[in-house]
């Protein structure tokens, strides 16, 4: 298939050639494209919606934060039940029949939501606060059943929570030490300490934002902001950018599948879409070998427009 000699068409004496300066062409292309890029950059700038932090989230929506934190401590949040690579849950494990690469890969980015997101930060920040330590202790020594009852009752009460001065108040009930722990966690969050504790509780240098991001993702605040910007999955969000900027238009086909059946109604949509896109990408690569797909250019006469000079001069020669 490969041809080691000088390209065949340039060997034929009848191929007419014309001067063509490749280096000048790229030089002109670089100058023109730079002018265009500079123009867009100067007049339109670029998008930069500031990041959300645990601090900004807990200040903007304390009720959502506390509801999420309660779920995390209960081990009931989405990511607490997620599955690999974070833990051994099954809530978000995707498979196609018996095929489940997610399960096979196992846990390699271990996150223990109740301890990593709630108990350990509280213990680290407790210091001399004996009341807090007592509350944590009474929580940890309670049975799983008792803990579950506290969490369920508290979650239910939080639906009617009142927020004032950044504090969350619920109707009285039997929630055990949970409200006290949540109140202290909220305080840590609102002062910014929780952002730090989630990130650098193991060691000083850290670039892995897995814990704070999973925590935020379990709540509703981040998704609410995303909805406003049309960035969610059902809004073709993968293609979109914040503000009036163009997004990642090249992802149009990737995100299209999520909008249509069967993908838009199943829990393993991600795995299915990845599979479809891998197959389509392979098809794209292998176009030269695929009958039909490689023949479309002959059927669609765009090539006759591109090479009209060639065909015109050839029909002149033949006539």
């Amino acid at each position: 298939m490969t041809n080691e000699r000088t390209p065949a068409h340039l060997d034929k004496p009848e191929v007419r050639t014309v001067p063509y300066d490749l280096i000048k062409e790229i030089a002109i292309a670089m100058v023109v494209s730079l002018v265009v890029i500079l123009g867009f950059a100067i007049f339109l700038s670029s998008p930069d919606v500031p990041s959300v932090s645990i601090q900004s989230w807990s200040a903007a929506d304390p009720a959502d934060f506390v509801t999420t934190a309660n779920d995390e401590l209960a081990g009931a949040s989405t990511t607490a039940n997620y599955g690999p690579p974070y833990n051994n849950g099954t809530g978000s494990v995707q498979s196609i029949g018996p095929v489940s690469p997610q399960s096979w890969a196992g846990v390699h980015a271990n996150v223990d939501q109740p301890h990593d997101f709630v108990i350990n930060p509280l213990k680290q920040a407790a210091g001399n606060d004996s009341a807090l330590m007592a509350a944590i202790n009474s929580y940890e020594t309670a049975s799983a059943d008792q803990q579950g009852k506290w969490h369920d009752a508290y979650a239910k009460a939080l639906k009617d929570a009142k927020v004032s001065n950044g504090q969350v108040a619920v109707a009285s009930g039997d929630y055990g030490p949970v409200p006290q722990m949540m109140s202290r966690l909220l305080q840590l969050a609102q002062t910014g300490a929780l952002d730090g504790l989630l990130l650098s509780s193991d060691h000083f240098y850290q670039t892995d934002y897995t814990k704070p991001l999973l925590f935020m993702n379990d709540g509703g605040y981040l998704a609410g902001l995303a909805q406003d910007q049309h960035l969610t999955g059902t809004q073709w969000g993968m293609m979109n950018e914040t503000g009036l900027y163009p997004g990642q238009t090249w992802l149009w086909l990737y995100t299209l599948w999520y909008q249509v059946p069967p993908f838009n109604g199943v829990s393993n949509a991600d795995l299915l879409v990845v599979l479809v896109m891998v197959i389509l990408t392979l098809l794209l690569m292998l176009v030269p070998l695929i009958p039909g797909l490689r023949d479309i250019p002959r059927w669609v006469p765009i090539y006759r427009v591109i090479w009209r000079g060639y065909y015109a001069s050839r029909s002149q020669e033949l006539s």
Binding site: H230, W236, L244, Y245
Partner: protein, 51 residues
């Protein structure tokens, strides 16, 4: 430029105006590239063998 964009909602298709504009521009550019004459390539010139 930071306010949320407007969207065209047509059936199941939901596309931002900036994205639609960009794709439209691409189609226009492709069409223009097909039609516009390319400089320096006159139709009938004397034949020259490759130098």
């Amino acid at each position: 430029m930071d306010q949320p964009a407007g969207y065209l909602h047509w059936g199941f298709i939901l596309i931002s105006w900036p994205n639609l504009l960009l794709i439209g521009l691409m189609v226009v550019l492709f069409g223009l590239a097909l039609i516009l004459p390319f400089p320096g390539h006159g139709s009938a010139t004397e034949r020259e063998k490759r130098g």
